[in-house]
């Protein structure tokens, strides 16, 4: 390895901490503060808060649509039923109804729960998923921030969710909850590494962690078939990695066939067994935002982010995220759940090995071609 | 290379014996110990050195190989013999063989270890008497202690643990004092020596090249080093008041070990005194002549008096050794040819005679299982040969003419009377001579009570003559003693030759 690793640059004090260079793209807060005519820290603060509120609400809206309505519709379609069609057009107002219903339910606090942890856990889950969106380019300038460490930050933020699950399971004073949280941990642990290592194989191509640059790197034309320029999306460049990443992502967000943390037929509802009312809503919300975060990561890493013809970037991004959501719902109906031992074996003996193989092969290929 | 071969063969023999089964260990050890005897006799026959090894005389069988360098000082493997060392080498090899043979009867437990340790000790003793580099010498010097510690501690009498520890602690502390004293001297020499080679250091010291050290003046350093070394060796000799380990060790040690202890180990102390204190620092020795002579005389008298009070035969011989060593010191401080030469000769003579005494006491003890004077009488009836030799040895001790003891003591007294190191020397000599009377007294008294009269020891077995292999070593020793008494020049010639250079400086004072 290069000696660079342990010692690079001469020891000269610059006197100030390195100001990290502003991202190559104009971020949402910049746009907002620019529009408001603010600058400096105040501008950053105001712009950031408004932008964050905007992004969060977009996600909440998508989740609201996806959770109470789309999910039921899709499942019904797979099972050849009709669902939620009474209230409003296509039953869309069920979203409002459900929201009110769940929020106004009595909160039952079971005996012997570990109080602060039990209360904090439902906050952590949506918080972690939302935080991940801070660095995702949603297209059309809808990107809150574009730090150098973008994609790594997204992974890190998304992983905080595990902490919430453990807290919930452990604080609930319920055997099912405990088991559920343990399972979720085991699962997250087993699939986190393949996920990250597969992402690393993409980083080899891109050479950057900055999400906007990863997206930009995928805009080059890979090959032109019959006059249509196919962009160099990494899903095309490295389909194997794509497949691996999607599978690992499924496990990471705990969807079928990897939904054993909740496995309703085995452990009631897993870590959320004892939660009701708004606490339950928050879990529900968090899970769905998490699915969209997974979709967004896939889109950014493999599907060219918000890029796409004709339509604006934001629409394409939403399409890609929803595509992944649809995929998870399809999997929910089409694929049986794996057992915990199978899950672990697939993770450690299959995914891990394959992901490392993928990394090494990618590195070798890139090296040889370069 | 003969010296290296001698030491190596002895080491190898000790290992071989250690690994041999108990059954054959004694025979094997005796047979193997003949090799160094032959070797040392061969050395004697080819001996051609003259002068003192330390003062620049020629050295026989010398080898000098650089060993390691430490902080600017080169340590060499330097061995060789001169007229002082060679007789001691011969004494060591001969006495070891005889001691091993005499151990056949009393030692019946862990035999291979016993004989292995005896040979191991012999090898190190040979090293002590031949080494001419301080470091090599010190290594051998200390290595002698280990086998002795075990020999006393494992095969000794009832209080063997106490005796062994006492021996070990006394001698080790003494070694430490001596070591520090000597190294301080070497430091004091500064740049004038770059080795720990004893001849080089001795010559530098005699040439007066000693400088100060860390603000200590040369004179003070010399005195302090002299005292430290003297104390260190005095314990080994032993000289009153450092003698208390000796009776314990002797009494508890099995007889063959006592033979080695009295016969050779004590000589290490006097040999080292001669080599270090009296050769290297003659001025200081003369400066301290009165106290040294006083200590010598006290040793003589006090040792003899103590012997007189003992009931245990071994204790009697042990204390009489203290007394005899007093003569040696007296001879050394006399700084005349006869004084120093006689002291050296007395080392050999005393080695043989005390060996003979301990051995014959051992033979009697093997038969009677007691050493108490009061318990025995009339042994002459039952063990005539052994008793005869014992009596002969006792007379040797008393200084009967035509025996080695007489020659040694005579030379010492002659030398001491002639000495000019202090005006009081004749006085001291006369006082020391009084010791002879006491020795004669206690020996005759003990002999008379144990050996003659009616036999009255009650045993459940027949007390009869000792076996041949017990008697032969005694006979050989007796013959040697008489031979040395009749013709002391066998050794005295080379001894005189070797001590003469020492006196060029000291004797004139």
């Amino acid at each position: 390895m290069e000696p660079v690793v342990l010692q690079s640059g001469t020891a000269t004090p610059t006197g100030t901490a390195n100001a990290s260079a502003a991202g190559p793209v104009t971020t949402l807060p910049e746009t907002i503060s620019g529009a408001l005519g603010l600058s400096g820290t105040v501008g950053d603060l105001v712009g950031g808060l408004i932008g964050a509120f905007l992004i969060a609400n977009i996600m909440l809206a998508m989740t609201a649509v996806a959770g109470p309505w789309a999910k039921r519709k899709i499942t019904a379609a797979f099972t050849d039923r009709i669902a939620v069609n009474r209230i409003g057009p296509f039953g869309l107002l069920i979203i409002v109804a459900d929201a009110v219903r769940l929020l106004s339910k009595e909160l039952i606090i079971p005996d012997g729960v570990d109080r602060p942890a039990w209360d904090i856990a439902p906050i952590i889950l949506p918080f972690s998923a939302l935080l991940g969106f801070a660095v995702i380019p949603l297209g059309s300038g809808l990107q809150l921030a574009d730090p150098e460490t973008g994609i790594v930050f997204a992974f890190a933020a998304g992983s905080i969710a595990s902490l919430g699950l453990v807290m919930a399971g452990y604080a609930s004073n319920n055997k099912y909850s405990l088991l559920g949280s343990l399972r979720s941990i085991a699962q997250n642990l087993a699939y986190e590494i393949p996920l990250v290592v597969t992402a690393a194989s993409v980083i080899i191509f891109a050479g950057t962690f900055r999400t906007s640059e990863i997206v930009a790197a995928q805009t080059e034309t890979l090959v032109t078939v019959a006059g249509i320029a196919i962009p160099g999306w990494y899903a095309f460049v490295n389909p194997f990695a794509f497949v691996l990443f999607v599978i690992a992502n499924l496990a990471e967000i705990g969807r079928n066939p990897f939904d054993i943390p909740e496995a309703p037929t085995e452990i009631v509802a897993g870590y959320q067994t004892e939660y009701s009312s708004v606490y339950f809503v928050l879990f529900y919300l968090g899970e769905f935002i998490h699915i969209f975060l997974g979709g967004a990561l896939i889109a950014v890493l493999f599907l060219g982010g918000p890029a796409g013809p004709v339509l604006p970037g934001f629409v394409w991004m939403v399409i890609k995220m929803w595509a992944f959501f649809l995929f998870t719902q399809w999997a929910r109906s089409a694929v049986p759940r794996v057992r915990i031992d199978q899950l672990i074996e697939i993770g450690w003996k299959g995914m891990l090995v394959l992901s490392f193989a993928n990394l090494v092969l990618t590195a070798i290929l890139v090296g040889v071609i370069a | 290379m003969i010296i290296e071969a001698l030491i190596a063969v002895t080491f190898a023999a000790s290992m071989a014996v250690l690994l041999a089964p108990d059954r054959v260990a004694g025979r094997l050890a005796a047979a193997l110990s003949l090799l160094p005897v032959v070797g040392s006799l061969y050395m004697w026959s080819r001996f051609d050195a003259s002068g003192n090894a330390l003062t620049g005389g020629s050295i026989a069988f010398e080898t000098m190989v650089p060993w390691l360098e430490l902080g600017g000082y080169t340590l060499n493997w330097h061995v060789g013999v001169d007229g002082i060392a060679l007789p001691l080498v011969v004494l060591t090899t001969v006495l070891t063989t005889l001691a091993i043979v005499s151990a056949w009867t009393p030692i019946d437990d862990r035999q291979s270890q016993f004989y292995g340790l005896m040979l191991f000790m012999e090898a190190n003793l040979l090293g002590v008497f031949t080494a001419l580099d301080f470091f090599v010498w010190f290594v051998f010097w200390e290595a002698v202690l280990l086998p002795m510690y075990f020999l006393i501690g494992v095969w000794g009498g009832p209080r063997r643990k106490y005796a062994a520890i006492k021996f070990f602690v006394y001698t080790n502390i003494a070694s430490l004092a001596m070591f520090i004293g000597f190294i301080a001297l070497v430091f004091g020499l500064g740049d004038s020596v770059s080795t720990l080679d004893m001849p080089a250091i001795a010559q530098a010291l005699r040439a007066g090249e000693l400088g100060g050290l860390h603000g200590i003046s040369a004179g003070t350093l010399r005195s302090v080093a002299f005292i430290a070394m003297f104390l260190g060796f005095a314990v080994k000799v032993p000289i009153v008041p450092f003698h208390t380990w000796l009776p314990d060790a002797h009494v508890e040690a099995p007889s063959p070990v006592s033979v080695m202890l009295a016969g050779v180990l004590l000589k290490m102390g006097t040999y080292a005194l001669l080599r270090f204190n009296f050769t290297m620092l003659p001025q200081t020795a003369v400066q301290f002549a009165v106290p040294i002579a006083l200590i010598a005389v006290i040793s003589v008298i006090y040792g003899a008096m103590l012997a007189l009070a003992q009931q245990d035969l071994k204790r009697i011989v042990a204390y009489s050794s203290v007394s005899s060593m007093g003569y040696v010191i007296l001879g050394l401080i006399a700084y005349t040819v006869y004084g120093v030469g006689g002291a050296t000769f007395q080392m050999i003579a005393h080695g043989l005679i005390s060996g003979l005494m301990f051995m014959s006491v051992g033979v009697i003890y093997n038969t009677t299982h007691t050493r108490m004077v009061g318990d025995m009488s009339g042994m002459a009836d039952r063990m005539p040969v052994t008793v005869g030799i014992l009596i002969a040895g006792a007379f040797g001790y008393m200084g009967l003419p035509l025996m080695a003891g007489f020659a040694g003591e005579f030379f010492i007294f002659k030398g001491a009377f002639e000495s000019t190191v202090t005006g009081a020397m004749p006085l001291f000599t006369a006082a020391a001579m009084f010791g002879i009377v006491v020795v004669a007294g206690y020996l005759l008294f003990a002999m008379q009570r144990t050996l003659f009269g009616a036999f009255r020891l009650e045993t459940d077995y027949e007390v009869g003559p000792a076996a041949l292999h017990q008697t032969v070593p005694l006979a050989i020793l007796l013959v040697t003693i008489i031979a040395l008494g009749v013709a002391p020049d066998i050794f005295f010639g080379m001894i005189r030759d070797a001590v003469a250079p020492l006196l060029e400086f000291g004797g004139e004072l």
């Binding site: 390895m1 290069e2 690793v5 991202g23 807060p29 820290t41 712009g47 950031g48 808060l49 992004i55 969060a56 009110v100 929020l103 106004s104 009595e106 079971p110 005996d111 012997g112 439902p122 949506p126 918080f127 939302l130 935080l131 801070a134 921030a145 730090p147 790594v152 930050f153 609930s172 004073n173 319920n174 055997k175 405990l178 343990l182 941990i185 085991a186 986190e192 590494i193 990250v196 690393a200 194989s201 980083i203 050479g207 950057t208 009631v268 004892e274 009312s277 708004v278 928050l282 031992d341 672990i344 074996e345 450690w348 003996k349 891990l352 490392f356 590195a363 070798i364 090296g367 370069a370 | -």
Partner: protein
């Protein structure tokens, strides 16, 4: 710096929205204290024992394995970042690729060992069980 202000803002919002929902819910929902309602759910049975049961040792094994491998990815990431640009700037494969292959090779040895020694087996196979009893005897 301002990026992180924005991210922090999203963090604040991310905490604020759930808390806001909790507040809203607290205003809306009823609270009827009733005995038996707060009993923890155990499929309708009366709950027995503590919920903090001892669980499968395999959870620890997986956790330990994860700890090791996940941290190694920390060391892989910087490499992926510079790999291509280093190659483009003239570094040889021996400088860029081989060390990482060695690193991953060592990791793989560890994984193989863990695999073969049953660290990633959730249910001990009969073979492993037999071995265990054999060793104990």
């Amino acid at each position: 710096m301002n990026e992180w202000i924005a991210i922090g803002a999203l963090g604040v919002v991310g905490v604020g929205i759930p808390i806001g929902m909790m507040v809203v819910s607290a205003l809306l929902r009823p609270s009827i204290t009733e005995q038996g309602k707060t009993v923890i759910y155990e499929s309708g049975e009366v709950p027995t024992g503590t919920a903090h049961v001892q669980f499968n040792i395999q959870y620890y094994m997986v956790a330990l394995l994860f700890l090791v491998f996940d941290v190694e990815t920390v060391l892989i990431f910087p490499w992926t970042l510079i790999y291509r640009s280093a190659l483009e700037n003239g570094a040889t494969l021996g400088q860029t690729l081989v060390p990482m292959l060695v690193f991953i090779g060592v990791l793989v040895v560890g994984l193989v060992w863990a695999w073969r020694n049953g660290a990633v087996e959730w249910v001990k196979s009969p073979r492993a069980n037999r071995r265990k009893t054999e060793r104990q005897s």
